[in-house]
Symmetry: C2
Subunit: 477 residues, 2 copies
């Protein structure tokens, strides 16, 4: 290991010599530095597990505000809540960053049903974000079941006047459930655009979940370049309903499916990112961000998606202050607005960062739920990836073993650049798609210890990044 560290240090020194900053990790000092790091990391965990705040913050947000879809009154309340809370934690400065966001509303609760073999079956359904409404009286049509966008396209004009039913289920053999989600979500996002083109009347999509249950999962969709007259209504149905419908279609291929929804997209609405920071003690012009998204879907309280992410992000700053550890670089906490349907907050933040010539050296996002910690996903250059991976022995006592190359998160990825080290927090993914975007994403699904261990895990990597990435980054004059 010593050899690897030495090689790493030499490698870093070679790279760094081309830059302005030569404050290297000193290999001869690493061992004693590691001891300090190990002690500080332990202290983050000790304080969060005895005096953590995130759980009660989350209880407050989910119980007293609840679901907070962009443009909604609840999202506006959440902005005020976030600003007040950041000030209470005592960040050096807190501000709101205005951003116009899409404003889609669900309207009345959706209904769906069909009759087969003389039996009427009600179907748990919910409109997808950005979908248009059905006609007021609802929509009734025969159903064509497909497993993919390609299969749908191959139907061509056969789908005219029909409802297309996308029913490709999660590949449950994938251990990382986000991969299973990634392998299915095109149906939800693009299904209506593909089928609207060919004159389908509507699109229903199997819910994005590993489970077979009765909860429809909403989520965003896009019509893309499709002209308005080709926009067709689209909705998710529960996974169990999808299984039953599929079986019924085999017996009765001409059954007619009915659904009704009254959602619509209103004009863009004013909203805000909530931003707060602790000024850096050595190079305050270098910025590290940590964040999640403040908006959520409307069907529940947005507990795991992404209430946990924002309270953990703020707890990172809280744990720095609580333990009297001052970041060298400026530590900025961001509650992004509108991740779910537009990522306008993320885009606005990156746009302003560029405009103001801010020097971002790193970022961490928590938007994968509040379950037990597993590790981090690194989107960085080779040197910094190796550097982050060298911290495994500091992090593994806390269950943080998976420190791999990969994406970071939708809200911080617009900050990507050669010298920006972006990291996604990766808790255990097994339960995430039980709740994701559905009516069960409520506070009671969050375990206090798991949430807090996540906060301390995030604080630990931010602490290490703040201490060691610094040396690799160009300093502005």
């Amino acid at each position: 290991m010593k050899k690897i560290i030495l090689l790493l240090s030499i490698f870093i020194s070679i790279i760094s010599c081309n830059k302005k900053q030569i404050n290297l990790i000193d290999a001869t000092q690493f061992s004693s530095e590691e001891k300090i790091d190990s002690t500080n990391i332990k202290q983050f965990f000790n304080s969060v597990l005895t005096e953590g705040k995130s759980y009660e913050w989350l209880r407050d947000l989910t119980s007293n505000i609840g679901g907070r879809l962009s443009g909604s009154p609840e999202a506006a309340k959440a902005v005020i809540w976030g600003e007040k809370l950041m000030k209470e934690v005592g960040l050096d400065s807190v501000w709101l960053q205005p951003v116009m966001v899409p404003h889609w509303v669900r309207g009345e609760k959706e209904t769906a049903r069909y009759t087969t073999n003389g039996i009427e079956k009600n179907v748990p359904i919910c409109a997808l974000g950005f979908s248009v409404a059905t006609p007021k009286e609802g929509l009734l049509a025969e159903v064509l079941e497909v497993k993919s966008l390609e299969e749908a396209k191959s139907l061509g004009n056969k789908m005219k006047g029909k409802i297309v039913f996308f029913n490709r289920s999660f590949d449950n053999t994938l251990i990382n459930t986000f991969k299973a989600y990634g392998g299915c979500v095109d149906q939800r996002v693009q299904g209506a655009a593909v089928c609207g083109e060919f004159g389908a009347k509507g699109v229903i999509v199997r819910s994005m979940t590993n489970r077979v249950d009765d909860y429809p999962h909403t989520g965003t969709m896009f019509y893309g370049d499709l002209p308005k007259e080709k926009h067709i209504p689209t909705a998710a149905i529960s996974s169990r309903a999808a299984n039953i419908l599929s079986a019924d279609l085999k017996k009765n291929p001409t059954l007619k499916f009915y659904f009704k929804q009254s959602c619509k997209t209103l004009p863009d609405a004013p909203s805000f990112n909530v931003v707060g920071e602790i000024k850096g003690t050595e190079t305050p012009e270098n910025i590290m961000v940590v964040g999640g998204h403040l908006d959520s879907w409307d069907l529940a309280e947005g507990a795991h998606d992404d209430g946990t992410g924002i309270v953990q992000s703020l707890e990172v700053a809280y744990l720095f202050k609580k333990n009297n550890i001052k970041p060298k670089n400026t530590l900025r906490v961001i509650f992004f607005m509108n991740e779910e349907n537009g990522t306008r907050g993320a885009k606005k933040y990156a746009e302003l960062a560029k405009l103001n010539k801010e020097n971002h050296i790193g970022g961490l996002e928590s938007d994968a739920g509040g379950h037990t910690p597993r590790g981090f996903s690194i989107d960085a250059n080779a040197v910094n990836t190796t550097l982050l991976q060298s911290w495994k022995k500091l992090l593994s006592p806390y269950g943080l073993h998976d420190i791999d190359k990969g994406g970071s998160g939708a809200d911080i990825s617009p900050l990507k650049g050669e010298n920006v080290t972006l990291v996604g927090y990766r808790p255990d993914s097994q339960r995430y798609f039980d709740y994701h975007h559905t009516s069960t994403d409520t506070f009671d699904k969050v375990n206090k210890r798991e949430l807090e261990l996540g906060s301390a895990s995030m604080t630990s990597i931010i602490y290490l990044m703040d201490k060691y990435l610094y040396s690799n980054s160009p300093i502005k004059p």
Copy 2:
């Protein structure tokens, strides 16, 4: 890595030359063998995640039988259930192993209350296993709060006529919650024995949990050598009630606490371990066991403790059969009876194994809940410990990183011996003591994927142990 494997192989060969069996791991073949192993392990995971049975088995056990304390009619039903299920899975042989078990019954629901400052407070309480009853009219006395057995002993005769209240809480900074449990459980197990000696009237103990909530957690206690007339009633109170009582005692040290329970210990009852096996193809006289315990506490359904352990253990055999992998050694699945209050089943099994001169080469126990997999704890000689740890790269893709020396489990540890490799399955521990021994240990707390990943994790290590431990074990003539 290659170098390590080579060194390991040489080491194993040196050790093994002293034994009868010389069928070594061939270092030159290891790489291609590893490929086979990796494929087989992947196949275990694939099949459990698509065709797993454990979740529905557990639903059946918890819903249709429920809590099954040793000696109860439910425990008797569970034995029949287990035998039938093992036969359905198609094990080569299934039998019941008679064992006499303690038969403690809770009686009527316990009550507790006290009045302070004119306000009467009801206290969530439950008798501890093996406790005697209070007098019929209940027990009323002043309370002395202590944090440890030592502190209690130091009170000596001051506790005469009093209720001693043990209130040392979990150390929540311990990442592994089992360590926190280990640091507190002496209060529950020995509290009444220590205080009965000095003439206390009763003992109440803070519940064994990381949480602050309203559920009392039962569990076993022992009077040890104490003469019967000194046996005093003892119960657990909820952690929140413990906090409130402690605060009230500071304001009003002479408040009187009342509790009433009607539990009693009946004569020992007949019961059974349920045992089934797949005969080994090469050395059937060598036995590997995998098991959990069939009995549970009576307050709930015994879902995580230890319903998950037994269905996972049987699923190991199911996954071998399903994937047409035949163990070289005999694979024996055991549903142990009476782990919770006596471990009589475990003792009986080990006693018979010795009596029948059975050659046990290894064992795996799942009795730490059905949460997401983290690894295994190894109780084995140095060579086999190193061997098991060398499988990390095969197991880590499934989140199995923690493969450390440690204990195995209460039911298999009586099989311990120089050449017996005992392993405890170690799922994530964060949520376990939310439910442990309390009324919330119900089926809905078990996640299907987490349970199934556990089954496949267990199958994988049993597969590797079966394949590679074999070479290290003495063969009977």
